[in-house]
Symmetry: C2
Subunit: 224 residues, 2 copies
Amino acid sequence: MDSVYRVAADEPRRGPGRRAGESRTREAILDAARRRFGEQGYDGATIRGIAADAGVNPALVHHFYGTKERLFAAAMRLPVVPSEIITFALGAERDRLGDEFQPRIGEVLIAAMLRAWDVADIRTAFLALLRSAATSEQGVAMLREFVTSTILASLIQVAGLGDDAESRYRATLVASQVIGLGFARYVLGLEPLASATAGDLVAAIGPTMQRYLTGDIGPADLSS
Amino acid sequence: MDSVYRVAADEPRRGPGRRAGESRTREAILDAARRRFGEQGYDGATIRGIAADAGVNPALVHHFYGTKERLFAAAMRLPVVPSEIITFALGAERDRLGDEFQPRIGEVLIAAMLRAWDVADIRTAFLALLRSAATSEQGVAMLREFVTSTILASLIQVAGLGDDAESRYRATLVASQVIGLGFARYVLGLEPLASATAGDLVAAIGPTMQRYLTGDIGPADLSS
């Protein structure tokens, strides 16, 4: 494995400069990642291409960041890896609730989202992503693919939905209410929504999430 | 009434210059309105103060624009006056549906919103307001007050809700879903939501609007 570390040309092999060299290499990778994600979108950018731009071996990028989503999260300075949080938070509730999980997934989901927003760094990152989507065409394309390929995909999986258009429609309906809640509560600060308790919001919005995920949403023509 | 027209110092009383003078006066009023709304918010700004800044009689501002909301809409270059659209669109459906209006207000509301967004100018203005809220602290305060004092107030009235905290909470829940739908569909372009038909969305989201406005949303503590 040691050879993986010695790919970057400017990286010293040992001694006090080692840490600074690794730090420079990581910065070069993150710079290349931001550029590639911005230009090619989340789906289009590859770890291979990013490594080539940064002048390092792809194995080093994998070693540092593990997955494309983790690299994206690091490049965008996200405080968490969204799909891991979803899988972790909802997976824990699924284990705890057993058969009660599926019929209560709506309230579980909105409660988890509100807990995440209570963490200042996560709320700040969420709002920064909304802002970048609202102001930059490039930001929009990147964020759309990122949300679809990671956040919605992990939501679909943890909710036990299938790999089909209806499941994706259900997940995007959920996303619309979550995004709107975040925007109305934290960006606009519409009262009394903005200072409603988490308990109030779970009671009001949980059933919406539940119906979007598992209930009757009407016969949708998603063939287009 | 003619004296009302002759308040602006630079406005010629007759002849071919009259139209240009009125146009300059209107621009001065709109400039003053943008400044006052931005600095004092929608609620804080007054027609009297705006008229003073523009060097005209308040009666002239009333004559040109009628209401503060119409002046705001003109200053922000909104293609419509939001509360008038709500009152008009929902009022027409209320007359048509009679006793069936209240139990179907959710689908009526989301269908009206989707029809409004189909008009390019309205969609553009909606997205511009979201953007200004997402990027400017000043824009946020102004927009929050405008949305609360005009859009949500007219929604509460046409829905037959009361003048209390629970009604305002219901209206802000509706706003959260509408804003999120607009953001997910038109800004992010999340698929398949972005290309779902209006009929699909009315079937999926109408019941959400209905429950937020008239259904069980849990016991909310809105005393704060």
